[in-house]
């Protein structure tokens, strides 16, 4: 802005703010000289710290000076010595832990040879800048992405998916600075559509939310993605990311849609819903902050259609949990006494955005088939879930969320839907053939999904052939 600015900083958030300032292209410093206690920002708090430190705010606007006026670092290499490879590898891992460069798990050495091998997975020039990983603003060059993949034992054929995932994440509307820094524990989940998923052994079936020896792609891509969030984005727990819990940090959440498992005529796969052609290779990034399994066995009704309703209501009951995390109409941040509903009007753009996503429902192919047999299409499932997950106004009042409902559309007293329309509910088929469970992934405090088409290198088939030789034939497990 070119205007001197200071912050009313919360104790413990200095590094988070440093990252944010770095991401804006400024030296990694914070123009403040005081951190206010956390308790001061709670309802009915004692505001004495402001009275006692108002001079610090004045100082920050009139006298504060940065230690540096400019700063730039470039990618470098590190040399590690050891009596043999095993010792050098061990020494490297200790160094990486001390420098906060690994994720706490052992990493492989990103040597020139290994990185060059990974880089055979793209036709992009190694120094191509894909974007900045916010909030710190580390530049995600193709090489840096390959370095992350090399560190986790990734393969060249995974690189196109990871690059597309990064391209999706760095789109401004994905709010990566928020995803990476917030106290809300968000994971940028990647859903992959298209033939590439099967080609690189990305799981869409059993255990698709976890690591898999038969399908190692998801764990490698997700772990590399997380390393990029940490090493380029600054998302180190308690320092750069204040996520209270940080679940799924180890491998994030990377999965494919089970496109073959979508019943014929049931509804389009996610990539088509997102505006791409059927059969296109696409990554969709959607941030999620929590997930729960929903059991779909047993029930009161004997008639299949009624039983399906019961199951849909079970999913909807989780979706309609009145948490701030599925309350995306408005601001992400805490309200307070005295705040009116009108104050959130400026934030309504989020729910107006066609990319607005109120959460992701994973449906195994078996249940998708049952739903279709009971007369439900993907569209009518969304409509049912939208209606059934509305939150009764007394519950809204009980949990203190009435100020967040848009005044004009959801008048006081009426049940409030979790998103403006059923289109805001994302449904993906995945999780295997059995129909006994569904999976609900709630959003965090950023709500806009992004998608990116995946670019394959000219040597794609040679890479797949090499993978076949290295990994052997894929077991015939769905």
């Amino acid at each position: 802005m070119g205007i001197p600015t200071t912050l009313v900083l919360r104790k413990g958030f200095r590094f988070v703010v440093q990252n944010g300032i770095s991401g804006m292209g400024l030296p990694r410093e914070v123009p403040t000289v005081y951190e206010f206690p956390v308790q001061m920002f709670l309802p009915n708090s004692d505001l004495t710290p402001i009275r006692e430190n108002i001079d610090k705010i004045v100082y920050a606007l009139t006298q504060w000076q940065p230690a540096a006026t400019s700063k730039g670092t470039s990618s470098a290499k590190v040399t590690i010595q050891g009596e043999d490879y095993a010792q050098a590898l061990s020494t490297m891992n200790f160094l990486f832990l001390r420098n906060q460069w690994s994720d706490g798990q052992p990493v492989l050495p990103a040597t020139e040879e290994r990185v060059q091998w990974i880089l055979t997975g793209t036709d992009l020039a190694p120094d191509t800048a894909i974007g900045k990983i916010m909030p710190r603003g580390g530049i995600a060059t193709v090489t840096q992405v390959a370095v992350a993949l090399a560190m986790v034992g990734g393969r060249p054929e995974y690189l196109p998916v990871l690059i597309a995932g990064v391209q999706a994440m760095v789109q401004p509307k994905f709010l990566l600075r928020q995803v990476n820094a917030s106290t809300c524990p968000m994971v940028p989940a990647l859903v992959v559509n298209g033939p590439i998923a099967k080609q690189i052994r990305l799981s869409s079936g059993y255990g698709c939310m976890g690591s898999d020896p038969n399908r190692p792609a998801a764990a490698a891509i997700g772990r590399a993605q997380r390393l990029l969030q940490q090493n380029l984005g600054g998302a180190i727990p308690g320092i750069g990311t204040m996520a209270n819990y940080g679940p799924q940090r180890a491998i994030n959440a990377v999965l494919a849609e089970d496109e073959e498992g979508i019943p014929e005529g049931w509804g389009p796969p996610l990539n088509v819903e997102r505006g791409f052609s059927l059969g296109s290779n696409v990554v969709t990034a959607v941030q999620v902050s929590g997930w729960t399994n929903v059991a779909l066995s047993g029930g009161d009704a004997d008639v299949p259609a009624e039983r399906m309703k019961e199951y849909l209501c079970r999913v909807a009951s989780f979706m309609g949990t009145p948490s701030l995390n599925n309350w995306g109409y408005t601001s992400n941040t805490g309200t307070g006494v005295g705040v009116t509903r009108d104050i959130f009007r400026p934030f309504r753009y989020r729910s107006d955005d066609p990319d607005y996503t109120a959460g992701l429902v994973l449906i195994p192919r078996g249940w998708a088939a049952d739903l279709q047999a009971a007369g439900y299409s993907k569209e009518t499932v969304k409509a049912f879930l939208w209606e059934a997950s509305k939150i009764p106004w007394p519950v809204m009042r009980q949990v203190g969320l009435t100020k967040r409902a848009l005044v004009e559309e959801y008048p006081a007293g009426q049940p409030v839907p979790i998103t403006r329309s059923p289109k805001g509910i994302m449904i993906v088929v995945g999780g295997g053939e059995q129909s006994g469970h569904a999976f609900w992934m709630q959003p965090g405090n950023a709500y806009l999904a992004t998608s990116q088409e995946i670019s394959l290198p000219r040597n794609w088939h040679a890479l797949l052939q090499a993978a076949e030789e290295d990994l052997g034939p894929l077991p015939a497990i769905k």
């Binding site: 802005m1 200071t6 900083l9 292209g25 009139t62 470098a76 580390g138 307070g336 705040v339 104050i343």
Partner: protein, 92 residues
């Protein structure tokens, strides 16, 4: 045995410098920004204290400024309102 590996933290650009600080807040226009975490209590108190220290300063309340969630809109608004300084909050 020598292992030469890439530094995984990559490069960061810092082409921008911090804005020059003001000589005084007297006579200046200062905007308050941010609606979160008891902003309706902290910002007014800061405003009251600053107005006491600098009676000629003009403090624009946070309710008259866009939130920091839209940085471009915020920057445009700050310039349109001829702000000399910004106090950003709350509890960042």
């Amino acid at each position: 045995m020598t292992l030469e590996v890439y530094d995984p933290t990559g490069a960061v650009e810092a082409p921008v410098t911090f804005a020059k600080r003001l000589d005084t807040l007297a006579g200046k226009t200062i905007a308050q920004v941010g609606h979160s975490w008891e902003a309706h209590r902290t910002h007014p108190l800061i405003r009251e204290l600053l107005e006491g220290m600098y009676p000629t300063a003009k403090i624009i309340p946070h309710t008259e400024m866009p939130d920091y969630t839209d940085p471009e809109l915020l920057a445009r608004s700050a310039k349109e309102q001829q702000c000399d300084a910004v106090i950003l909050g709350n509890a960042s």
